[in-house]
Amino acid sequence: AQSVTQLDSHVSVSEGTPVLLRCNYSSSYSPSLFWYVQHPNKGLQLLLKYTSAATLVKGINGFEAEFKKSETSFHLTKPSAHMSDAAEYFCVVSEGAGYSTLTFGKGTMLLVSP
């Protein structure tokens, strides 16, 4: 069975400072991992995905994540937060080809202050 743990329910940063959203996963197989963002009253937008290629994955809006198998982690980072980054972020795992059900983490709300 697959599962995702997002270690922080809320993260607060100031505009222009780095962002770190933590995610640990559990999977019986070689997982695919994703980060989705959800702005208030909006749908889910894919930020980036890891699918067993390069372990450092670059996504949209300056976000990136590093897959670390030894630590079973897939933390999301951004060097400099922008006010528009304020949203809820979901770390998601899928057990890969042939079985594509997504399992979501509980989400991390990112708050960005001026």
């Binding site: 695919s32 994703f34 989705y36 909006k42 749908g43 889910l44 937008q45 894919l46 995905k49 699918t51 979901f90 899928s94 890969g96 080809a97 042939g98 079985y99 594509s100 059900t101 997504l102 399992t103 979501f104 983490g105 509980k106 989400g107």
Partner: protein, 113 residues
Amino acid sequence: AAGVIQSPRHLIKEKRETATLKCYPIPRHDTVYWYQQGPGQDPQFLISFYEKMQSDKGSIPDRFSAQQFSDYHSELNMSSLELGDSALYFCASSFGQGALEQFFGPGTRLTVL
């Protein structure tokens, strides 16, 4: 580029009523997934279809049913609605079963009074 379309975007129903949510996948996508996101919760997988056949089943209540039609659109039918069914219902689509990326629609917000 065309995205996943869901209708209606908002729906208000009374307890014990029925509701039908519709999902139109991205053109040429043959797989559809339904998710339920309760207030302050993470999305939970309900059910998926590939080529008009149910491909996987998650935490979908027995009061709910779904199907995928020949044009690949899908409908989620919900009967005997309960207050706890109030949630945001997402549809996602992909090309091919087991595709690595699912494209999400904007969601239908169902409120049960």
